[in-house]
């Protein structure tokens, strides 16, 4: 019975199916707001669903060699992204029942979609995909340092809690983490990291359509491509949720979660629509300077209890 319940949690709510739905809807908000900013009308709400369904019915072309890795790595990324969604959703619903030290598990699982993209790109035997893979990995190195620092600042802030439920409970008593010096700095830093983790402009050098034609995803078609798109959608739901839990987790009733989620989404969309793409070395320099310094200050402040 317990196993059935976890299977349900993982596959339906708040895991795979729900996160796909929420992610695609978030993607629609993204497309609609971007369109309005550019004085276009924008797609109807079901456009993303239609796209995915259409894509998964299309022919799958795989390049010569590396078939096993090429076909399985989209699943790897998609499954781990939705697993994160399940863990996060579960700990919002039952803060007291989350398993111990799940925060670190989440941190590592959030890395897996990038790994999946890199492996898939490497397996596709395409020089442009290799360039994309290299850029993706460098981007991971760039944002991971400030990201880890920001998360550690919040771990210290929540008096050493590495359990999502405890982080939430801590904020329930002491107010949201963002309303402190360290919390605010870490929040600013993590917003940038989130943008890069989602692979959105200005940090989308690994997929730069104009230079390397989709880079890492160039050889993908059909179901594989659909799965990578779904992974992105799930991440678009998961990452803001993670930030909400860490930083603004005081009131997590459904209405407030949705409001906060939309708020963060708007920040993401604004950054995306007002910035040009950075070159990979510019992005690395940026991440190792501004957000890293912000996060380091946040960690120091958090240690001294600010």
């Amino acid at each position: 019975m317990e196993i059935l319940k976890s299977v349900f949690n993982y596959l339906v709510f708040p895991g795979l199916l729900f996160s796909v739905f929420a992610g695609l809807m978030a993607g629609w908000i993204d497309r609609k707001v971007s369109a309005r900013l550019q004085w276009r009308v924008g797609p109807p709400w079901h456009q993303n669903f239609t796209d995915i369904i259409k894509l998964s019915g299309k022919e799958t072309i795989f390049p010569q060699g590396g078939k096993f890795t090429f076909l399985l790595s989209p699943f790897l990324g998609f499954l781990s992204a939705s697993l994160v969604a399940a863990i996060l959703g579960w700990s919002i619903l039952n803060p007291d029942k989350s398993f111990s030290s799940d925060l670190i598990v989440v941190l590592y699982l959030l890395l897996v979609p990038a790994v999946a993209i890199i492996l898939g790109a490497s397996a596709s035997r395409n020089p442009l995909a290799s360039v994309g893979a290299s850029r993706e990995m460098k981007m991971v190195l760039a944002y991971e340092l400030p990201f880890i620092l920001a998360v550690i600042a919040m771990i210290i802030k929540s008096s050493g809690a590495i359990q999502l439920g405890k982080v939430i409970n801590h904020q329930l008593f002491f107010g949201s983490n963002v309303f402190s010096f360290s919390g605010f700095l870490a929040f600013v830093s993590i917003i940038f990291c989130m943008q890069a983790k989602l692979g959105l402009v200005p940090f989308d050098a690994s997929e730069a359509e104009q230079e390397i034609m989709g880079g890492a995803l160039i050889e993908y078609s059909g179901l594989g491509l659909a799965l990578f798109k779904l992974t992105k959608a799930v991440m678009l739901y998961t990452m803001p949720l993670f930030v909400i839990i860490l930083f603004i987790g005081r009131d997590l009733s459904p209405l407030f979660v949705i409001l906060k989620f939309v708020g963060i989404l708007v920040i993401i969309i604004l950054i995306k629509n007002t910035n040009p793409r950075l070159r990979i070395d510019q992005a690395m320099r940026f991440f190792w300077r501004v957000p890293t310094v912000l996060s380091v200050i946040a960690v120091v402040l958090a240690i001294f209890g600010k």
Binding site: G57, I61, R125
Partner: protein
């Protein structure tokens, strides 16, 4: 003297002996094919067996002098085995012998001090506290013995023999000694002295943690820019030791358990890596990354083993490397406090977590350059096929253990190997079983969807490069230039230049200190009258002194 006082089996060394035996068997099976046509096989197998016996002796012994004896023989066989490699192996062997042998001498001094302090050479009778004020000698003894452990395991600053050795020695030797058994020995002895022989003070704990954090970051940064598969793996063999030092340094139950578990895991996947590298070398004749590529299709078993080991070393859940790293992080986080100490602990935590991303980066480069990516030298690669079973089976077994130890961490390794050491502490969390089951089901259903979905068509085609003709030699991205951007960023460039010039290499720096010996060499000119004059002067001095 009672025989049972010489050797003692307890929960800490029991599973280490088991692991050494297991690794020996795998290395010997592997060597039976790899070393087949090489010279000096009698010596090779003899040294391997002596190594195995002495390693087991060193782990089981309860007598410090006996430990020193076994430890010394291990240093000697290591030298002899490294020397069996090809060109340039003698220099690597010399370096190994100087560093390992030199620290063995330090250990002798440390054990003498220990005897002076406690009046016993039985390990289970010694218990020295480093917390008091008058513990200077005890601290010296601890640090001297720890230096030998650092050198054996390859922690900084005694690490520099491992990359050289990995590059030059025969690969089964590297996979067996520096990658697996030496790690077990070094960390086992460190754990033994840190947990049983001494009671550590907070300052020593902090020292271990910082040494660990620096080792992790510095070695992995060097690994990132390597062009040779063996050297890259060698630097990772150094980097992973940092996690174990960090875990032992935390002094918390979960941290120490994590460190010991990581020691076991690291030996498993590191041996897997070096054996896989041996397969690649056997089939292609090189381990230079820019000459390899696209081997996944021709050597699938080696590829899958290497991929699983990579997932494991990078700490991707649910592989075994994740579980042990995750325990170490918990231990470090338990030590977080406010004030200056908290800052250092936070630094160690960041180093460990970011080090893990850097590890991921360099292994993605390795996988891309060797197994995936574009195929180099198409004509030559056509004849490559999977190696013989004696060579693919050991890495495959090790990769399988990586998965099993990760998924069933609580049920098998933690329960039987790690928990007995620490008594009644129970680890909670990470019920990987259910999650993995779901992932397995989902992956399996993915495969089924792929094969059952008859409506969609699968087609094989050339890679698309914007309509140009694909010339794999001209267009190939080898992976060696993956991280040139990192290498070129301001401060990094300077540090890398210094590192490549050997500024952080204790062996190169040690040479400078021993410039003193140049004067002695100048005196030793081999001319009889010079020596006579010195003897005369010496006698005069002696007479003057005894006057």
């Amino acid at each position: 003297m009672n025989f049972f006082q010489l050797f003692k089996l307890d929960s800490l060394n029991g599973f280490v002996v088991l692991a050494i035996g297991f690794f020996t068997v795998l290395a010997l099976v592997y060597s039976s094919k790899f070393m087949q046509a090489k010279r000096g096989l009698v010596q090779y197998y003899l040294y391997m067996v002596i190594t195995a016996i002495c390693a087991i002796g060193a782990v089981l012994t309860n007598n410090l002098v006996l430990l020193l004896f076994f430890w010394g023989i291990l240093g000697l066989t290591l030298y002899l085995l490294v020397n069996l490699g090809g060109e340039g192996a003698n220099l690597a062997a010399k370096k190994t012998f100087v560093i390992v042998g030199g620290t063995d001498a330090l250990m002798l001094l440390g054990i003498s001090i220990l005897y002076f302090l406690s009046g016993s050479i039985q390990m289970d009778e010694i218990n020295i506290s480093l917390t008091g004020n008058s513990s200077g000698l005890g601290l010296a003894a601890y640090l001297l013995i720890a230096a030998a452990c650092f050198a054996k395991a390859g922690a900084m600053p005694f690490h520099s023999w491992i990359p050289d050795c990995a590059d030059k020695a025969p690969l089964p030797v590297v996979a067996y000694l520096p990658a697996a058994v030496d790690k077990l020995l070094g960390i086992y002895l460190l754990a033994r002295i840190s947990l049983y022989l001494f009671v550590l003070s907070p300052a020593v704990n902090m020292f271990l943690m910082i040494a660990g954090a620096v080792t992790i970051i510095a070695a992995v940064m060097m690994a990132l820019i390597q062009h040779n598969m063996k050297r890259l793996l060698g630097y990772h063999a150094v980097s992973q030791v940092g996690y174990m030092l960090l875990g032992i340094g935390t002094g918390t139950a979960v941290g120490i358990a994590g460190a010991i578990f990581h020691m076991l895991n690291n030996s498993i996947y590191k041996q897997c890596f070096f054996l896989a590298a041996g397969n690649v070398e056997q089939k292609t004749g090189t381990t230079e990354l820019n000459k390899l590529g696209g081997l996944a299709k021709t050597m699938p078993i080696t590829y899958i083993s290497c991929l699983f080991a990579s997932f494991s070393i990078c700490g991707i859940p649910p592989f075994n490397g994740f579980v042990s790293k995750w325990m170490i992080y918990q231990g470090v986080i338990e030590r977080l406090s406010s004030g200056f100490n908290g800052l250092i602990v936070a630094f160690c935590l960041v180093a460990a977590m970011f080090g893990s991303s850097l590890t991921l980066a360099s292994f993605m480069k390795l996988i891309h350059a060797v197994f995936l990516g574009q195929r180099m030298n198409q004509q030559e690669n056509k004849e490559i096929s999977e190696v013989k079973w004696q060579m693919w089976m050991p890495p495959a077994i090790l990769a399988l253990i990586c998965v099993v130890f990760g998924v069933f961490a609580n049920q098998i390794p933690l329960r039987y190997f790690i928990q007995p050491i620490l008594g009644n502490i129970v680890f909670s969390g990470w019920y990987a079983g259910v999650t993995t089951l779901i992932i397995m089901i989902a992956l399996f259903s993915g495969v089924v969807i792929f094969y059952l979905n008859t409506k969609t068509v699968y087609r094989k085609d050339q890679a698309f490069v914007g309509g140009e003709a694909l010339d794999s030699d001209a267009h190939a991205v080898t992976g060696t230039e993956f991280y040139n951007t990192v290498k070129d960023i301001g401060l990094m460039r300077m540090v890398y230049k210094k590192a490549e010039a050997g500024v952080f290499d204790i062996y190169e720096q040690g040479k400078k200190i021993f410039r003193v010996s140049d004067f002695l060499r100048f005196l030793h000119n081999g001319i009889m009258p010079t020596y006579l004059i010195w003897m005369l002067l010496g006698m005069l001095g002696l007479f003057f002194f005894l006057r």
